[in-house]
């Protein structure tokens, strides 16, 4: 039986993030990581000598061998704990609880969690797993899957079949998140509001998903500095405690998911809420991975914000904007903020930190005390859920 807890052991001491851009000419993944690591340390008023843990998420093209040592040296660190965390898009959230666990174990006190990626016009269509030696590849790739796009489309289609979910309901998620992005100057789609009609009239790419329901890959980076709860209280920033965490993976390719429309969020979120001693009703903010509109909808269902299958009517009935009755992805979500590789997933962590600190400026959620953060990897495969709380 699993009974351990991370509740209250660690907190977020600092964050760093770059405004995403389609391309960042001249930048490298290590240079972007360096920049956001510096931001996070300055935010926490720490120096490299104060950091004794380092967790890296790989760029989508793959991490170089012995990546953590390379970045250790580049950053001038001497960590007691270093690793690469690869749970796909969930990596950011996964890094945060691994950092908390390492701190709770006494192996280190302050862990930098770094994510960064770069797009290249040349690389865009050449990405893809090699055929040979990957277990499922030879049974999938001859049929022409379109990567994550077709995976989430298969999920959306089945959700519509089982529960009557509509494209209008899914489109509402994209529209509300764009409203949020229009209050966030860091978002790629800042200043570009959209309507339901815009989403529904955008081209179908993989039925039933339209272009504006699909995340845009871009370049960028994000960092989070996790420290002990005690150390965080000696720091300069409002303290954001890590109150709960859960993780689950059930498959890799969507064909091999045992229950297509029900995600491992069901476990990861339940574990996080149980650890925190809180429930979905206690949350002031949902910061949930949104590579596609359907991802948000299924996450809301499986995390318990509404009944299974009721996600469609639920998002239609609730105002998901920062001023609404259920604020979701107030930075715009990756759909409107941009998806800089695995730093896209980390953007849900950094935004929750800003909101709980009360530093979200023109999109601040009123009295944001508790936040639910969800990281999602693969095709609804890896799930990492976190509960953040404002320290009293």
């Amino acid at each position: 039986m699993i009974t351990g807890t991370l509740r209250g052991k660690a907190a977020i001491a600092g964050i760093g993030e770059l405004r995403p851009a389609k391309f960042m000419e001249g930048a490298t993944v290590p240079s972007l990581m360096l920049e956001v690591a510096r931001q996070a340390m300055l935010d926490a008023e720490m120096e490299p000598g104060d950091v004794d843990g380092l967790l890296l998420a790989p760029p989508l093209g793959g991490a170089p061998l012995i990546f953590p040592a390379m970045m250790t040296e580049y950053l001038g660190l001497t960590p007691n704990y270093l690793d690469v965390v690869d749970t796909g898009g969930a990596s950011g959230a996964s890094q945060v609880w691994r950092a908390a666990a390492a701190i709770a174990s006494g192996m280190c006190e302050s862990v930098l969690c770094l994510t960064a990626d770069l797009q290249s016009p040349k690389a865009f269509y050449t990405r893809g797993a090699p055929m040979y030696g990957l277990p499922a590849s030879e049974f999938d790739r001859p049929y022409g899957p379109m990567g994550a796009n077709s995976g989430y489309a298969l999920l959306a289609q089945r959700h519509m079949y089982e529960y009557g979910t509509t494209s209008e309901q899914l489109a509402k998620i994209a529209v509300d998140q764009r409203t949020n992005a229009c209050a966030n100057p860091m978002a790629m789609f800042y200043g570009k509001p959209i309507t339901l009609e815009d989403v529904l009239n955008s081209p179908l790419i993989v039925d039933p998903l339209h272009l504006l329901e699909i995340v845009m890959p871009c370049s960028g980076a994000a960092a989070v500095l996790v420290t002990s709860a005690e150390r965080a209280r000696r720091g300069p920033r409002p303290v954001v405690d890590i109150l709960g965490a859960g993780e689950k993976c059930s498959h890799s390719g969507i064909t091999y998911s045992k229950n297509l429309v029900e995600s491992p969020v069901k476990y990861s979120a339940a574990r996080a809420f149980e650890m925190a001693g809180l429930s979905p009703a206690d949350m002031d903010l949902v910061s949930a991975y949104d590579c596609y509109t359907i991802t948000v909808l299924v996450t809301l269902e499986d995390a318990g914000f509404c009944k299974k299958g009721q996600g469609g009517p639920f998002v239609a009935e609730h105002d998901l904007t920062f001023a609404g009755d259920l604020p979701v992805n107030t930075h715009g979500g990756q759909l409107s903020f941009g998806q800089p590789g695995l730093a896209g997933g980390m953007s849900h962590v950094t935004e929750a930190v800003r909101q709980v600190r009360g530093e979200a400026n023109g999109r601040q959620v009123k009295d944001c005390e508790f936040a639910f953060v969800n990281g999602n990897g693969g095709i609804l495969s890896e799930q990492a859920s976190l509960i953040f709380g404002r320290a009293s």
Partner: protein, 140 residues
């Protein structure tokens, strides 16, 4: 003068020792799935042992070729140039009558007539490198 380059070849199956029997059977006109003789589980794709009970006592069972469309999408932008001539095409999760799910295409029917839950039947078509691919058409 401009020449139109032929599209590159589609990814062809690349059998491993574990999957070789699957692909050889298809060349003989049979779709086979691994069955565990210890616990009776069917598993697709193939592994060296049963991931339900760890028995390595597996046999290949020929399945009926009857299936249901579990879910599908219509791909309207090619993931790679190899598939551009097929656009739009149906990428699907096939639920075999025997239970296991597999990836496939639904072929021989206009894409706008494809619906979740429709009955399907197996058709084995030639693929690259001398292999054969299980595909699916509407079962009337």
């Amino acid at each position: 003068m401009t020449e139109t380059a032929a599209p590159p070849a589609k990814p062809a199956p690349h059998p491993t020792p574990i999957s070789a029997h699957y692909w050889e059977s298809l060349n003989d006109g049979k779709l086979t799935i691994q069955k565990c003789t210890a616990c009776g589980s069917l598993q697709h794709y193939p592994r060296p042992f049963c991931v339900n009970c760890l028995s390595s006592d597996l046999e290949w069972e020929r399945v009926s070729g009857r299936a249901t469309l579990f879910s599908f999408t219509i791909v309207r932008r090619a993931a790679s140039p190899a598939f551009a001539p097929d656009l739009p095409y149906v990428l699907a999760i096939i639920e075999l009558e025997e239970g296991p799910h597999m990836t496939g295409n639904v072929i021989g029917i206009p894409v706008d007539e494809v619906v979740v839950g429709m009955p399907l039947e197996l058709t084995i078509v030639p693929a690259g490198d001398g292999h054969s691919l299980p595909q699916w058409k509407a079962r009337r």
